[in-house]
Amino acid sequence: MTRIITAAAIAAILAGGTIAAQSVPEISFTATDLLRTPTEGPFVGEVAGVGANSRGQIFVYTRTGHPYATLGDNRTFSRGGSKLFLFDAKGNFVREWGQDVYGFNAAIGLRVDPQDNVWTIDVAANQVVKFNADGSVGLVLGRKPETIAVRPAAPPAPGAPAAGGGGGGGGGQAGAKLPPGSGVPGSGFNRPTDVAWDKAGNIYVADGIGTNNRIAKFDRDGAFITNWGSTGGAPGQFSGVKAIALDAQGNVYAADAGNKRIQVFDGNGKFLREFGNIGTPLAMCMTRGATQYLYVSHAGDEDGMDDATIYKVALDGKVVGKFGAAGKLLKEFGLANSIDCRNENDLLIGELTNWRVQRVSLK
């Protein structure tokens, strides 16, 4: 009897879930393949991050090749692999930014802040770098692993500090006596994914898809303030923080991909609420109008070719609409890893596997 009731309850829940999913209205939209580069190159590769500044200029942080490993040196390190490109508002290539900087290895995100500074997030260098509007480097958070291991690492000696940084390397991480992400100034990120700011200019870093599963908060000058989160599925825990956004009140929205939910915290990390029904969140963007919405990119499979859409979500978690599906054609998305929503109904969607940015106009 109990079993029957349970089964009925589950069926009801499933049915309810299905109805809820079906009731999400489709938002009609148009899309264009935006970026134009010279035919001889450079080429846009996997678009990890796209963002527009107040003048409409478009910045694209993209994986353009392989990081190179140096051989024959005392220290083998990796270099290259990703580039930052500037396009005009119509999508025409203007020039490269940050040529040959130290930490452009594996792009994972880009954001433009309200002062038009450009922030790049790199998942191999484990860094968040702020470029001033003039292109100079304004702030560096985290440190690139100094060297890479070119053979399987030997088991650590008893009592040896844990290696800092992701990817089996990272000798020389500052503060290595504490595990990375322990929250002290200088502790390293482990595959950070995103950055956001509050009105005071405090910096919030989603850290990330490595082992840290936390959000780190710094003041506007990069001084560590606090961090919260650990690995798991409970409130305040994460299973891969893939994106972060703040609302006008300073609440922090974290895309908790492995747990298929958005968690909401106040600016000090106090858990407020969570909501689901947004699939597996890959990217987010908070609109800037009087009534704010979140756009949430969902990709249900590893390569984003079977199950994907972008949801428009009210801040109470109600899904108000969705658009797009998985695929390679226009109006389809192949791992939409970045959303710019400076204009609420005129979005820039950066895709990893389709190597492009679509300008999406919602009706």
Binding site: N105, A149, D303, G327, T353
Partner: protein, 355 residues
Amino acid sequence: MTRLLMTALALALLPAGSWLSAQSRATATNVPVIPHEAVPNFFKNPPGIYTGENMGIATSSKGAIYIYHRAYETRLFEYTSQGQFVREIGRNNYGFAFAHSVRVDARDNIWAVDEGTDMLVKFSPEGRVLMTIGRRDDPVAMLANMPGAGRFHGRNAKYRFGRQTDVAFDQQGNIFVSDGYFDGRVVKYDKNGRFVKAVGTRGNGQLQFNTPHSIATDFQGNVYVGDRGNARVQVLDNDLNFKAIYPNVGNPWAVCVSGGPGPKNPGKQYLYVSNSWPDSAPAGPAEYTGEVYKLELDGTIVGKFGRAGKAPGQFATIHQMDCRDPDVIYTAEINNWRSQKILLKPQQMKTTSQP
């Protein structure tokens, strides 16, 4: 003692043995020779432009010729129909790391097959990226695997390859991929790059492959797979059902079906199969390494041409062929860092009465 001796013997034989197992002489006998000649110095590069190991070669319907090669970087060059260098395509794009083959589809789009990035990159004739299939591994994840000695994994993912080797197209625009060193299968996508079907496991039975290394389609949509390690061409229908095995033409490094990718009906088509061994082979087998067989589509051998060597008209590991015109074969060679334009003279073939 005996065991020790046998171990030593096995160790001594292992390198040669494993090498031999990867190569085998064609079993067809008394095959008539098709007279052929190479156009001397056909491909001409301006000063400072070099090709490295020529892995792929393909022609367009307009006469353009593309060579995909491994130089300092993996690069894709375009030449005129007269062999003059025109330009470079896709320089330093994300999908280029280690060239394997290049093909041109019915709309003259250029498809680069890169075994370093596990990617297909489709370029428009102008050189713009139109589509990609497959995905480069995350460099952070790859660090854990350094120094990078990959091996067969049979991952069999819908949108990921494992050192895929080649691509072909049917008249509907469907895409066929031979995949490859780390998988043993053939994958079909529709014209929009959406997965349709995959068949194949590793082995030597029907619909099994031991490094499917090259792939081609005929006008009816049948699929010819150079099953190199198994020393056979395996023929599949358009839905990837097994049709036939052609077992007698050695190790098919490269396969090619004449007539081009359509849409015009090419009429009678031929299958060319290159049994080109590495030129590190002993001098003795030169006569049967570097040979190219010409077959009817049903597997009947028409003739053969070529032998190993470095002189014009000889071949040092043909890695890909273009045979849009059945009597004009473009060959890309690994070891000689070159491609050649080969003119066949089938009308001068001596008819042999031998069985």
